[in-house]
């Protein structure tokens, strides 16, 4: 393990980010400039798997997706607290295991409630 990490250690990531964005930008620009343009009515239409398009993308969606998204956020935050635990798992020994069992046990109670309530049932 190195002793110190500095923000400059992230410089390669910045370079990679710049390279990725630059590649995307250059490719789009190049295809725009090089490619031929034939604008007919059929070509300008939004392509939707060969099916006639209907409405726009802002169509209201079912509330079931929304409930799944909410539960995803809550379990996502739970996982965040597991990273520091997993890294220190060996040093904390049995006590750390018990602490995490209490944490997970409470969240599991919530999960059981969700299943019992049928919140994730799809019909």
């Amino acid at each position: 393990m190195e002793s110190n990490f500095l923000p400059s250690d992230y410089f390669p990531i910045v370079l990679q980010l710049l390279a990725a964005i630059g590649f995307v930008g250059l490719t789009m620009l190049a295809t725009h400039l090089v490619g031929p343009k034939r604008k007919t009515k059929d070509k300008l239409e939004t392509f939707e798997c060969g099916i006639e398009q209907q409405g726009d993308a802002r169509a209201p969606i079912s509330i079931k997706y929304f409930l799944v998204a909410i539960l995803f956020v809550l379990f996502d935050v739970e996982v965040i607290f597991m990273y520091p635990w997993a890294v220190n798992f060996r040093e904390m020994g049995m006590q750390g295991l018990m602490e995490m069992f209490v944490f997970i046990g409470l969240l599991l109670a919530g999960f059981v409630y969700i299943i019992k309530k049928g919140a994730l049932d799809w019909e």
Binding site: F5, I61, A69, L74, V77, G118, A119
Partner: protein, 165 residues
């Protein structure tokens, strides 16, 4: 190059935050919010808080903003359906916010020690160190967070579940 990275990032943070508040289209607001969170993540990296940067990336940009965009899609907000507040009220709001800013700055001027420089370059931002502190000094809040998340789950399911009667 003198400290310019910090000032550039700060400028972008404030700019995107202003765009969040003043965009007419709610979807644009949400997208600017994502950019604001991204600049704040960069601030965390500069502050040597690496794990915090990752968590900010995952939780705020990955989860919370997706949920907010989801809510907007669910609500199907048409173009410019938002009614505007009266101009006088907006003017008063701007003045009030400006006064708050002046108050904070005045309070800041009264303090000393704000000129501290030098971010301690050590490893406290790494996941291992944070885990040690979290499980040694903040064990009770950690367990209580699980109760909070449990109650949030129950509340969300109760609110958002369609009654099957």
């Amino acid at each position: 190059m003198n400290q310019s990275v910090f000032y550039l990032l700060s400028f972008m943070t404030v700019l995107f935050a202003l765009l969040v508040v003043f965009s007419k289209n709610p979807i644009h607001s949400a997208l600017y919010m994502v950019l604001t969170f991204f600049t704040i993540t960069c601030h965390y990296v500069l502050l040597n808080a690496q794990f915090l940067a990752i968590v900010n990336f995952i939780v705020y940009m990955g989860a919370i903003m997706v949920l907010i965009l989801f809510a907007m899609m669910f609500l199907n907000l048409g173009k410019d359906t938002e009614p505007q507040k009266p101009v006088l009220l907006k003017f008063a709001a701007v003045i009030a916010a400006g006064l708050l800013l002046v108050t904070i700055f005045a309070a800041l001027k009264k303090t000393d020690g704000g000129q501290i420089t030098g971010i301690a370059s050590n490893n406290i931002g790494l996941v291992k160190e944070l885990g040690k502190t979290l499980f040694r000094d903040f064990l009770l809040p950690f367990e209580i967070i699980s109760i909070l998340l449990l109650s949030a789950m129950v509340g969300a399911v109760l609110l958002a579940k369609r009654d099957t009667k």
